[in-house]
């Protein structure tokens, strides 16, 4: 073996040295940014193709099985639904159903389907597809998140089709949320019914399905999906919608959604013109506005509203966690003591949160339902002012005394101390907790703050109940009844004390009743007072301490016309187009 390995000095110089030199040459070639990419004319404007970005990959292309927002957004343009939400009026408007009639007793709704709507394969969309879609959703073997929204008192909606273009839905009792929640994607019965009958629905239209097999009826059809890279759409030339001059909609010829996990990267891509629209974070708004001022990029930046969700602190009031072997942890007494909670509410420095965390681009949140929800938001609530002096006085008056500087005790002499947590990966929540912690600690209450991985946090909220105080957010919808699981004392998302067999407090019982009343009133304006009252109760009893809502901004290239983003979605997206020049 040694003989074989003997290498002459010459051969070293002749063979290895040149090899190394070559390697260096090759790698420096790679370093030199001279690699020419021959771009075919790829002009977003000229080709009328809109480039956008999405933060993650889709999980499924089956609209019924979707449980995440990305999959929803990526399949949204493929499937039409009976009704859709008008993001300006926040009322349901016509989709596949041209119009609908509500029976006088409010227990039946008749949907009149639009004629001439076709599936991508040319077959007509008719009432059979609607009935099939409902059957699939109600199939107990198909786990989906739509079923609860259209289940009324544990009963399904009975649907029948008197003819091909009429669907009658009979409800066990009047149920106002239905007009919103019936905005579900309608599925092609002629393709999926055999699959469903064979028991394979749960494995149909996963993300490995070739895009041309996804038969929808929406404005775009998917042409290409490359995992973690992009999703491409072409417009549906047979789409039913026409503009006021009879022109075919949508006007864009296609869309490309690039998948960009990192938000910084997405921002940079927008700045470099690779994507055409962008929803900036609060700290990015001011640099973008500067660019508008200096006419650097040819973009528009606009405030489109404020956040529709709710971001709040809540204290654990769950006796299952605090009462062990007949011994009650004093924390339960504090967290159910209104005086303590009011003091905490007065320690919420919303101004600093807005200034420091959201660069002044946020507003204090008072009611649980966002002001963007024009009908159901309660505008009459008065916020708890940030007032450390008042908070300290309230605690003193309620028997929580300063034992020595920096140490406050409850009436029984226990030191006030609690754990505070939120999920990792959201710097804003982390900063808000840090601000709250400093303020509360200035009262002599010790706060142990530690953010937790999301799944771990959920496990604590949902199963082990091992938490004291948490900062958590919920996204908000138009329909307040969608939050029933959170408001209702028996709900599993009634975070501070979930799954109660019967309401622990009188005000919780009142909320339960209000929810039932609100759902059975059909007229939105007559429904509103019930939900206003719920917000009033939450505000007075403080199971949750509202924080702030950030302002939402949108930015897009000036060459993009008719782009009308609203907090609830795009208004008239079919009219979008690039300026022809």
């Amino acid at each position: 073996m040694p003989a074989r390995l003997q290498m002459k000095a010459e051969s070293w110089r002749k063979r290895i040295l040149p090899a190394i030199t070559c390697a260096i040459a090759v790698s420096s070639l790679a370093i030199f940014p001279g690699c020419r990419v021959n771009r075919p004319v790829n002009d977003h404007e000229k080709n009328q193709i809109l480039y956008t970005a999405m933060a993650s990959d889709p999980r499924t292309f089956n609209p019924i099985l979707i449980t995440d927002s990305t999959s929803g957004a990526l399949t949204g343009d493929l499937f039409e639904s009976l009704t859709r939400l008008n993001p300006v009026t926040t009322l349901p408007e016509a989709g596949l159903a041209e119009k609908w009639d509500i029976a006088p007793d409010s227990k039946a709704i008749t949907f009149h389907l639009r004629h001439g709507v076709k599936w991508f394969d040319g077959r007509p969309v008719n009432a059979r597809d609607v009935l099939f879609t409902l059957d699939v959703i109600y199939d107990p073997k198909v786990p989906n998140s739509i079923r609860p929204a259209i289940t009324i008192d544990h009963q399904r909606i009975i649907a029948e089709a008197p003819d091909d273009y009429t669907v009658v839905m009979r409800l066990p009792k009047p149920f106002a949320p239905l007009l919103y929640s019936i905005g579900i994607p309608v599925m092609p019965a002629h393709i999926l019914e055999p699959v469903w009958k064979a028991g394979n629905f749960n494995h149909t239209w996963g993300i490995d399905t070739p895009p041309d097999k996804l038969v929808g009826n929406g404005p775009y059809h998917m042409t290409h999906y490359a995992q973690s890279q992009l999703v491409r759409y072409d417009r549906n030339n047979d789409y039913w919608m026409k503009d006021e001059h009879g022109g075919q909609l949508p006007r864009l010829h296609g869309q490309t959604v690039t998948i960009v996990q990192d938000q910084n990267a997405e921002y940079l891509r927008y700045l470099s013109g690779q994507i055409d629209v962008y929803g900036p974070r609060t700290e990015e708004v001011s640099p973008l506005l500067d660019k508008v001022k200096n006419k650097e990029l040819g973009i528009t930046v606009q405030q489109i509203g404020i956040d529709t969700g709710s971001l709040f602190f809540t204290f654990n009031r769950n006796p299952r966690h605090y009462v062990k072997n007949g011994v009650t942890n004093p924390k339960l007494d504090w967290f159910t003591d209104l005086k303590f909670l009011q003091a905490m509410a007065h320690m919420m420095d919303k101004k600093s949160m807005i200034d420091l965390v959201f660069h002044q681009l946020a507003v204090p949140a008072v009611a649980n339902i966002s002001p963007e929800n024009k009908i159901f938001h309660n505008p009459n609530l008065k916020d708890y002012d940030y007032d450390p002096k008042l908070a300290a006085d309230m605690l003193e008056a309620a028997g929580y005394h300063l034992a020595k500087p920096g140490v406050r005790t409850d009436p029984k002499g226990n030191r006030l101390e609690f754990d505070l947590t939120t999920n990792t990966g959201t710097p804003e929540r982390n900063e808000m907790c840090t601000i709250f912690k400093q303020d509360v600690e200035s009262l002599g209450i010790k706060v142990n703050y530690r953010p937790l991985e999301f799944t771990t946090l959920v496990d604590k909220l949902d199963s082990s109940f091992d938490w004291d105080c948490v900062l958590i957010g919920f996204t908000g919808g138009i329909e307040p009844n969608d939050g029933a699981n959170f408001y209702r004392s028996s709900g599993n998302l009634h975070l501070w004390n979930p799954n109660q067999p019967k309401p622990a407090a009188p005000w919780e019982a009142e909320i339960d009743t209000l929810l039932d009343q609100g759902a059975s009133e059909m007229d939105p304006n007559r429904r509103a007072p019930y939900y206003w009252r719920i917000q009033q109760i939450l505000h007075d009893q403080l199971p949750i301490l509202e924080t702030v809502r950030q302002q939402r901004y949108s930015s897009w290239k000036n060459s993009l016309e008719n782009y009308q983003p609203k907090v609830w979605g795009l208004y008239k997206p079919e009219w979008m187009q690039f300026k022809a020049d």
Partner: protein, 326 residues
Amino acid sequence: MTRFLIRRLLNMIPLILGITFISFLAMSLVPGDFVSNLKLNPTITPEVIHQLEAQFGLDQPLMVRYFKWLWGVLHLNFGFSLQYRVSVTGLIASRAFNTIILSLSSMIFSWAIAIPIGIIVAVNQNSIWDRCLSFLAFFGMSVPSFFLAFLMMYLALKTGWFPIGGTFSPDYATLDPLSQIADRINHLILPVFVLGISGTAGLMRLMRSQILEIKNSEFVRTARAKGLSERVVIYKHVLRNALNPFVTMAGYSLGDLLGGAALVEAVMNLQGLGLLMLEAVRSLDIYLVMGSVLMGTILLLVGNLLADIALVAVDPRVDFSSVAAE
């Protein structure tokens, strides 16, 4: 040789079992499971949650789940990703390509630069070159790679010379094949630089110390005493021996090929395995994690085996019995 191979391969079996079981156990120690990600969605009821748990087999006891998984693996069925609802093998394969390209290029980059520089520096020990380059090497070793990645992203933004992160352009599919390659290379430059720099520094130091060590060893002194010129001594005797550990290192690097660039991948938005694994762990996508662990382990073990075989091949002082004893 054959006996050695069989022994080593047999040794791998308990190793793989041990690693996969410990990983499975650790994963179950984390409170909650994949379905926990859905629990705070008000439209998803506990009933749907339970259904999904049953569908994914997450409601069964630990041992049952482990052995079911193992049984599947024995039949080359690695399970499916809970996040993506597709088979783990397909998912890993689609990402592994990007990662391998990235790791290979940064390896070539750092080797191509480190070895010649290491030689130059060692031959001219304590010269101004040595000092400067050694200092630079320490500099490279001491800069956190993710931090360098941020700086490079910033550079790309400010200068426009490079694409800002990503594996290729959004219009990649519309390019002609040559441009596709060029586009990929364009996107590779910064990540390869970032990943290569720290490797370069370490390798250069290793090369330098290897040469210095051998330069002062007895047989080199003998060679010099024979009156051979310093040039011949260096190239003929020193270099050949100094390169031995690098042959072994190439084998060991096999395990790193698919592994640890997760941070840089995350920062520069490169669609590689590291990022996939990171996400999988965070969202408790257990079968995807197990698939990656298994693949990483096998690569590492095979890499070590190859490294040992290579060591025997290049170093006459080592034979299989001494390697086997390790």
